[in-house]
């Protein structure tokens, strides 16, 4: 095992602050260490924590001072952990902005103590990024040798028994995706250029894959049935209830605003309207059961947070107060409509007809500000 134990030898607090976004095992190093110390339940081979402790790390446990990091179904986290423990790959699918990557990072940090073995899928991803490539200077001078081999995350993970995260797997071309097939079923990676035992890298206990895929990409690079069979699929859904989502948006946007130098907290009424608008345009139904239009652009909680942030910034730096309904309408156009005129039309209709029929001052203000919708 060459993996650095981030809890033990992690950077000190000041170094952590200098990082723009430290990985989960550094952000929550104390919690992980405490959980590991008090963990008495049996651990699956190669795991840093037992299943129960890993669950506790992800969904939180107030009594033990573990914070809640993933606001979603506990059952989903349990199923995900069990899938990994039964040596099936885990595939997290869902709409963009549903915290799939965060969940994969948290699980990797809990299970393997390390969330940094990441393959970022994309149109340009090749097998080299997944398995291994060569240090060409050495390769030319010495020929193929273990020294000249540059391992990619999958080879590292297998050799060291660690969890590998494969982000946006369906963005990769099909033939690249299928290079995972033998890795996941045979649990061995062949390096035909090397002779002897070095030519076959067998996966150690603890190796597994967490992949994420976006349902918006469905059909772009449809996964093969063979590969699908090697994964347990878990669909991550947007937060089901308004109050939880509102609390999350409020907490996250307040933190972001503070970092942007805005001292006033966002207005609760404006946030409520914002989150309600997002939920209704996302689900295509209004609170009273009438159907609205789903927007084709992503109306995720993450986008709601960024709109709330933008609203707060506008309000403070333009007027010196919290953001109001007019700021909200202005910022909505950029997020909700993006470059789609249809979405803009849908949004306009929503503001014209739905906002008008709602009771309450915040909705009236939203309706009154509808003409600010650009485009």
């Amino acid at each position: 095992m060459t993996a650095v134990d981030p809890a033990g030898a992690g950077p000190d607090g000041s170094a952590r602050d200098r990082l723009q976004r430290p990985p989960a095992e550094i952000r929550y190093a104390e919690e992980l260490a405490a959980l590991r110390a008090s963990d008495t339940d049996p651990r699956p081979p190669g795991w840093q924590l037992s299943l129960r402790a890993a669950r506790r790390f992800v969904v939180g446990d107030e009594e033990r001072g573990v914070s809640r990091k993933f606001v979603g179904d506990t059952a989903l986290v349990e199923r995900a952990l069990v899938a990994l423990a039964t040596n099936r790959g885990l595939m997290l699918v869902g709409e963009p902005g549903t915290a799939k990557s965060l969940l994969s990072e948290l699980i990797a940090a809990a299970v393997a103590g390390d969330s940094t073995l990441v393959v970022q899928g994309g149109a340009a991803t090749t097998e080299d990024h997944i398995k291994y490539s060569w240090n060409y200077a050495l390769l030319v001078s010495e020929g193929p040798s273990e020294r000249a081999l540059v391992p990619a995350p999958m080879l590292k993970g297998m050799a060291e028994g660690r969890l590998v995260r494969f982000e946006e797997i369906t963005r990769c071309p099909l033939e690249v995706q299928d290079s995972l097939l033998s890795l996941l079923s045979e649990r061995v990676l062949a390096v035909p250029e090397l002779d002897g035992p070095a030519g076959m890298v067998f996966a150690r206990q603890g190796f597994n894959v967490i992949a994420t895929a976006n349902t918006r990409d469905r059909g772009v690079n449809e996964m093969s049935a063979a590969l699908k069979r090697r994964f347990t699929f878990e669909t991550v859904f947007p937060i089901p209830d308004l109050d939880t989502e509102l609390a999350l948006v409020e907490a996250e946007s307040t933190a972001l605003l503070r970092r942007s130098g805005v001292p006033v907290a966002p207005d609760r009424d404006v946030l409520t309207v914002l989150v309600t608008v997002f939920r209704e345009l996302r689900s295509g139904t209004t609170g009273d059961g009438a159907s609205a239009d789903r927007l084709s652009s992503v109306m995720s909680t993450a986008e709601a947070v960024s709109v709330a942030h933008a609203v707060g910034v506008r309000g403070w730096f333009l007027r010196g107060g919290p953001g109001d309904a007019a700021d909200l309408v202005t910022c909505l156009a950029g997020t909700a409509a993006k470059d789609s005129p249809e979405d803009l039309a849908r949004l306009r209709r929503y503001l014209e007809q739905r906002a008008a029929s709602r009771g309450g001052a915040p909705w009236k203000a939203l309706h009154a500000a509808r003409h600010l919708l650009a485009g």
């Binding site: 669950r55 059952a75 349990e78 069990v82 899938a83 039964t86 669909t235 249809e342």
Partner: protein, 866 residues
């Protein structure tokens, strides 16, 4: 003197086992069960030996409200076990809760819904503390997966104490608890030193204990319980009342029909002093033990003039599973039945086997490897969650993980409450169906028939309909209408043999005669017994059946319109409380403007003009009109599909829908929640939207003019029609636009043209103000545009133009033709101009062909000029 309180969850096998064990151990003198106390005299009827699931169906109606509700009992219901095993052990068993008609149950259709779900905050606190997503998951974890745990009673106590905590129950629950406490105190007094067992929902348990120990829940609470017109001072049911007698008695009071007689065999005798304790003898307990001079609480009687009753109906697992939202109890009845019969391991095996079998029957591949994987992960999930054996959620979770290899469109249904949503994965649907099962209960043959059967027989006899001979009814005659309604209600209930062979098809059909040819249908009696679950009276039952149909119709406007019309022909519109809500919900989510428009037109027509069914100005229709108009405005402004684009041609059904909206806005404005100005704003935006379909824009343009006539003071002048036409003069869109305009605003344009001076021959383009401001009259401008078109353009525009002018009746078309002749300074017959020697489209085709030939000749240098 000791009392044991068992707080249970309704429909929980683990609790049922605990009840059985406790009865075995205690051998109590009295078993008191949460259930309608007005049924105490008829427990023999309940214990005849039915095959569960069965339900006590209760109905109630007074001048203000009507309600129906069920008390479902299955083989593993703790209440059922308390009744059957208690009776077998020689105890006196009794229901001790308020009757179903009591205002404390207003708005509740399922007596055994989980009470705690009405207190979302309390359950949320508990879920949060244990880190689970749903109450069901928590319940499984604590209770159901370990039904034989020796400390089960303590666990239940802890569970419900945590939920109830210091939650303040609502007044209805407090009233019920105060009433139940009275019975417990009475039983304690009667039992002497022998044990008493109380089986109620766990949510009530802490309160009951407190009330009994402190002696609370006295007169003040009871007054609250009796609020809503219930009169105390009633002699409770005597043991000598024959179980069946109640149903056989004829209802005397108010001539309301046989149903009234089933008032729980409790003879209502309004007494002078409310709350006065009345003497009652204990129910017909098998052992007859403990028959002391106990003073049992009075069973509240329904207010005078109200109609209520309860009777047994067969029930099914499907109904048990279908309660949604806070109405729900334990889901997955079939699984719980297996759990009750064979214990958790066997139930789990059976669940997996059933799911795999169902999926394979449907051609869904279920590999052995997948089942092995599911088994492994179920065991791992159970270990992670701390279950001794895999429970229902462990099994379902693991099966979903192994069998679903794609993204889900809807969350797994067992992770949240509510009915299965459309779009759920087919494998998941099969899993839920396997857990639900299709068992249907059966009543013992000696069970008294439901009052509906008597009601129907009475009505048919009174109206001289023996149900065998064909009849022709004139709806305009009062007795004809009454008979038609009765027959329609039977038809709506699905009673075989009642078929109408002729009559009005919908609300706008000008037929006033109906012909019915009833046949002596097989199974008519059985169907009526089954329909008895819908209500005690024919009109109530038909209404409930219509409500079910409305729910099933969802957002299908055609089906909703049919339900609406059936409600009208059943003469039930004034009773249709819950139906209104469902209709509104359905119409409010409709997606196709055409069918919605025809539903609106029918409802509006009946609301305005009906003389046959007596539903003019009816609130149900008014609600439908309002919802449909609001929804249509929403759809119109959206990018509604259908009939778009130049090639599609105008969408006639959509235009008719807009005509219906116009009529509603003009003639039924007081019904609508949307103001005329707001509607005009919508249409103004649509008219100006270049992306909208041309026919829609034309119609919107016309509607703006119609709706702002007379113009609002201070409003800007609407754009002139001539300018607007010039803006859409492209041959591919002109006809569509005009079709929209003529569909909704033909009369206004005809009038406008009249006073803008088109009558003065040849001066159409003089531009003398009025509607033609800024560029001539409509006919004039159109004439200009069409004359200026090239031959090819004209051929493109022709079909849609013809369709546009088809909205004018022949007389008006003739008038337009006359104007065209006048414009050219000619004389001649306008009628002749409209009559061509052949079909104009044939002429157009001929011209196309000629054009093509001459172009080809020109191309080859063989042109006529050559």
């Amino acid at each position: 003197m000791s009392v044991t309180y068992l707080g249970v969850r309704h429909h929980s096998p683990a609790c049922a086992r605990l009840v059985a064990r406790t009865i075995e151990r205690l051998r109590p003198a009295h078993v008191l069960v949460e259930g309608p106390a007005d049924l105490d005299g008829r427990l023999d009827e309940l214990l005849l030996g039915h095959e569960p699931p069965v339900a006590v169906f209760s109905h109630y109606r007074d001048d203000e409200r009507s309600a129906t509700s069920w008390t479902p009992l299955c083989a593993y219901s703790p209440e059922w076990i308390a009744l059957t095993r208690g009776r077998a052990a020689g105890a006196e068993v009794r229901f001790i809760d308020l009757p179903a008609w009591h205002p404390a149950f207003a708005g509740r259709a399922n007596r055994y819904a989980d009470a705690e779900l009405r207190y979302a905050e309390a359950t949320a606190r508990l879920r949060h503390r244990f880190g689970v997503d749903s109450t069901d998951a928590l319940w499984d974890r604590m209770i159901e997966t370990d039904p034989d745990a020796p400390d089960l009673a303590e666990r239940l106590e802890a569970y419900f104490d945590a939920i109830r905590g210091d939650t303040e129950a609502d007044p209805s629950d407090r009233a019920r608890e105060a009433y139940m406490a009275e019975w417990i105190r009475a039983a304690l007094a009667a039992a002497g030193d022998r044990p008493v067992l109380v089986v109620t929902g766990g949510f009530h348990r802490p309160a009951l204990r407190r009330l009994v120990e402190t002696g609370g829940g006295g007169a003040r609470d009871r007054d609250a319980a009796a609020r809503g017109g219930a009169r105390a001072g009633v002699e409770a049911a005597g043991p000598d009342t024959d179980a069946g007698a109640g149903t056989d008695a004829e209802a005397g009071e108010a001539g309301t029909g046989a149903g009234a007689a089933v008032v729980a065999a409790a003879e209502a005798r309004p007494g002078p002093g409310a709350g006065a304790a009345a003497e009652a003898r204990p129910g017909a307990g098998a052992g007859g033990a403990g028959r002391g001079a106990a003073v049992w609480p009075a069973v509240p009687a329904p207010p005078e003039g109200a109609l209520s009753g309860s009777f047994l109906v067969p029930y099914s697992f499907r109904q048990l599973d279908s309660f949604a939202g806070y109405e729900s109890g334990m889901p997955s009845p079939a699984y719980h039945q297996w759990l009750w019969e064979d214990g958790p391991e066997a139930a789990g095996r059976r669940l997996v086997r059933t799911v795999a079998g169902r999926l394979r029957n449907r051609g869904h591949p279920v590999s052995t490897a997948a089942l092995v994987a599911a088994g492994a992960s179920a065991a791992a999930l159970a270990a992670l969650r701390g279950h001794p054996v895999p429970g229902r959620l462990d099994l379902l979770d693991s099966l979903a993980g192994a069998l679903v290899t794609e993204a889900l469109d809807e969350p797994l249904p067992w992770t949240r409450r509510g009915p299965l949503r459309a779009g759920s994965h087919p494998a998941v649907v099969e899993m839920v169906a396997a857990c639900c099962g299709d068992r249907v209960g059966r009543l013992h043959p000696d069970t008294p028939v439901p009052p509906l059967v008597h009601d129907v027989a009475g009505r048919l006899a009174a109206l001289g309909l023996d149900g065998t001979a064909p009849v022709t009814l004139r709806l305009t005659a009062p007795d004809g209408l009454e008979r038609s309604r009765v027959l329609h209600r039977l038809r709506v209930l699905g009673v075989p043999g009642y078929e109408r062979t002729a009559g009005p098809a919908d609300g706008t059909d000008p037929v006033v005669e109906e012909r019915w040819e009833p046949r002596p249908g097989a199974g008519r009696e059985a169907a009526l017994v089954e329909a008895g679950a819908y209500g005690a009276r024919l009109d109530d039952a038909a209404l409930v059946a219509l409500g079910d149909r409305a729910r099933a119709a969802a957002d299908d406007c055609g089906a909703l319109a049919a339900v609406l019309f059936d409600t009208v022909v059943c003469g039930a519109t004034h009773l249709a409380g819950p139906l209104v809500t469902r209709l509104r919900a359905g119409l409010a989510s409709a997606s196709a403007p055409g069918p919605l428009g025809s539903a609106l037109a029918t409802a509006l027509g009946l609301w305005r003009h009906d003389r046959v069914y007596g539903v003019a100005r009816d609130p149900l229709l008014a609600a439908a009109v309002d919802t449909a108009v609001t929804r249509l405005l929403w759809l119109v402004e959206g990018t509604a599909p259908g009939g778009r684009g130049p090639s599609g041609g105008p969408d006639r059904t959509r235009l008719r829908a807009l005509v219906a909206v116009r009529d509603a806005l003009l003639h039924a404005a007081p019904l609508l929640s949307v103001s005329r100005e707001a509607a005009a704003d919508v249409f103004r935006r649509v008219a100006a939207d270049p992306a909208a379909a041309p026919d829609l824009r034309g119609a919107a343009f016309g509607l703006v003019r119609v709706l702002s006539h007379p113009p609002r003071p201070g409003a800007g002048a609407e754009p002139g029609v001539a300018d607007a036409v010039r803006a859409v003069a492209a041959p591919a869109v002109l006809g569509d636009w005009l079709a929209g305009l003529f569909a909704v605003a033909r009369e206004e344009l005809a009038d406008g043209d009249g006073h803008t001076g088109d009558g003065r021959a040849g001066e159409g383009h003089a531009g003398d103000g009025g509607t033609g401001a800024g560029g001539g009259t409509l006919v004039g401008v159109l004439d200009e545009l069409v004359v200026a078109m090239s031959g090819t353009d004209f051929l493109i525009a022709l079909p849609a133009l013809r369709e546009a002018f088809a909205w004018f009746p022949p007389v008006e078309r003739e008038r337009i033709a006359a104007r065209l002749i006048e414009r050219r300074g000619l004389r001649g017959s306008a009628r002749a101009l409209l009559r061509t020697t052949a079909d104009p489209l044939d002429l157009a085709r001929a011209r196309t062909l000629e054009d093509h030939v001459s172009r080809t000749l020109d191309g080859l240098g063989l042109g006529a000029a050559g």
